[in-house]
Symmetry: C2
Subunit: 239 residues, 2 copies
Amino acid sequence: MKPTLKRIRALAFDVFGTVVDWRGSLIEEGRRLGRRRRLKADWAAFADAWRAGYRPAMDRVRRGELGWTKIDDLHRMILDDLVAQFGMRELSEADLAEFNRAWHRLAPWKDAVPGLKRLKRRYVLATMSNGNVALLVNMAKHGGLPWDVVLSAEIARHYKPDPEAYLCVPRLLGLAPDEVLMVAAHKDDLDGAARAGLRTAFVARPLEFGDPAKKDVAPERRFDLNAKDFLDLARQLGC
Amino acid sequence: MKPTLKRIRALAFDVFGTVVDWRGSLIEEGRRLGRRRRLKADWAAFADAWRAGYRPAMDRVRRGELGWTKIDDLHRMILDDLVAQFGMRELSEADLAEFNRAWHRLAPWKDAVPGLKRLKRRYVLATMSNGNVALLVNMAKHGGLPWDVVLSAEIARHYKPDPEAYLCVPRLLGLAPDEVLMVAAHKDDLDGAARAGLRTAFVARPLEFGDPAKKDVAPERRFDLNAKDFLDLARQLGC
């Protein structure tokens, strides 16, 4: 193991795309809603559009144009904007509220739970997600994710990639930034973590956007570790 | 089950005394330190003195005389005051730092883990302790406490019984205050939770101070539930 990795005491995980398959799960939830309410829509295009609204909405909060707004509420704002475009105007308020909670039920990639269980023996496992605490807690109960502690941009009151978000992990765990390894499938997330002084582990998730051609999964020397999945991550960390 | 308890979705646990036996654990840690460093002290009196300093120290933070100070640091301030009185002046800085972390290793009461595992099937299990996050996370890993989410006065930046501390549980879990049941072995803690709108469950811990005569464990009608231990709590909640 690299000397820089020997100091690691805690792992901080990005969640959407890194731990759970948001796209596959949203398509499945859309199909189920469609069958129940007799709606036809391109659920893959819908999932991509819902997710595409997320970064611009968070950036409005990061720039201060919107006061602190949690992801559940940002997801609902984006959903409301998509209702007309995807032929969902007949859905009731109760249907929309329930559909918005699809993000609380996203399914883990199949290596995620066995990998986390191995890593948990040696490390403190934290989330560091832009998802709000309730979303992350409900998702963990739904998918059996064995977190030691659920941390979130909501607790830092700053969205990633602001340094305050990453730094809340070492601060609340009583560690130095370089004792925390940020694990993510997104290079910009890891670059943000590195700027805050954390160590970085890239995990390839080639199917995040459905088509592997849409995802850059090339390993990078600037990260402390590059892994194929969570089992490979556990192996490289000696778990 | 009472109608007021049917709405409960999450349980928020006080930790010191309610989940873990701080006194027995500190006495044991003191004895071990004594053998290692050839110190003789009345470790029971020492444990009681360490704990007795806690409420006045927190109250200084609550009144604003001290800026935000986490429990690890308050414990250390109190320990430093007790060193001379208990004949511990020869301990090194490393010994004192390690001894201060005894609070991260407190042992659960024997019904705690099996009771929590039963309750976890139906409810979200949260801590709501004045202990800081690192302390609670390390304690959970040490004792096998299966929390869904570790919440703390440190996250609210208010110590119990300030309402802000209790209210951070429903706020972060996306629930109404009366959907959260505060579980504690201390009546003043439950009275604080009730003032904030949470529901209350009293758990008798007759041995918290060693001698059952030192602890008021009488059930009270003003609490929504009174239980003998966590297995009785699980039974009364239908788990």
